[in-house]
Amino acid sequence: MLLIDCPHCGPRSETEFSYGGEAHIARPLDPAALSDAEWADYVFLRDNPKGLIRERWMHAHGCRRWFNVARDTVTYEILTVYPMGAEPPDLPERRYP
């Protein structure tokens, strides 16, 4: 179970949160200009790392705010929490075979 440190409410159980998947995906400014392949990549392709992931969470049953989390998908350690729109923090890459 994850204990997620909400920037507004402090550490809370994962059951209070909704998961938003990979962070930092920019919505294409002009979707109509994309090829089918580019659009499909935007809609369906997500990082699926065994190691460091940067992802979005929303405190659905708390303050109802979105924020970003950097997490290790193997140890489940939450490395840092940072606001929406912020640059991804510089963290050493983690990869497991």
Binding site: S13, H61, R65
Partner: protein, 205 residues
């Protein structure tokens, strides 16, 4: 707004009044009491000590709490609960929502803010008694130890999967819970059932 004499508690079918008591029975560990018609006004606006905060203070007579989880006001009277960085509840046990709303709208005129009467969306109940914390801990993932959740704090969380807003009123301890009106029956029965091992008294509304 429904006329007062037409209003019904969502628990009216349980006939709680027939076995309600004034105080918790001596050998019971928890007491439950419904608080069906409380006023809740949902406020949205910018945090900080700006125009929004002073407008709310003008209309309600209470300082706008700035930290999520903080409460200003009196447990039995009017309260402001900070539930998010730009979201508050103005709660009141007695005064009618309409006059409060009018006052708020006057003060907030021209601001990028909103005040909405959500009273009929909510149903409140109170849990008290020596084992109130134990009972609540079965239903909710919050750390309820007085060290991290002392009297005078609030939090939104889950009550056995049902979204709730929780306040700790005092260290006796006594908690107040708001759940959506349609969850009233579920919440009540769930707590009554989970509290059986402690003994549950029903207090009059």
């Amino acid at each position: 707004m429904v006329e007062d004499f037409l209003r019904q508690s969502p628990l009216s079918h349980l006939g709680l009044a027939t076995h309600a008591r004034a105080e918790i029975a001596a050998d019971d560990g928890v007491a439950l009491a419904e608080r069906p018609f409380r006023t809740v006004i949902t406020l949205r606006g910018p945090g900080g000590e700006g125009a929004f905060a002073s407008a709310v203070e003008q209309a309600s007579g209470l300082k706008l709490p700035q930290e999520v989880g903080a409460i200003t006001g009196e447990a039995e009277g009017r309260q402001l609960l900070c539930l998010g960085p730009d979201e508050w509840w103005l709660c009141d046990g007695n005064s009618d929502a309409e006059s409060l709303l009018v006052a708020l709208e006057d003060e907030l005129a021209g601001q990028f803010a909103s005040a909405v009467d959500t009273s009929d969306n909510w149903f409140a109940l109170e849990i008290s008694g020596p084992q109130a914390t134990d009972l609540l801990a079965k239903a909710c993932p919050l750390d309820l130890h007085p060290r991290s959740f002392p009297a005078g704090r609030c939090a939104r969380s889950l009550l056995s999967k049902a979204p709730m807003t929780l306040q700790k009123l005092d260290e006796s301890p006594r908690f107040r819970i708001h759940v959506r009106r349609s969850f009233a029956d579920y919440a009540w029965r769930w707590l009554s059932d989970a509290g059986r091992e402690y003994g549950v008294s029903v207090l009059s509304a």
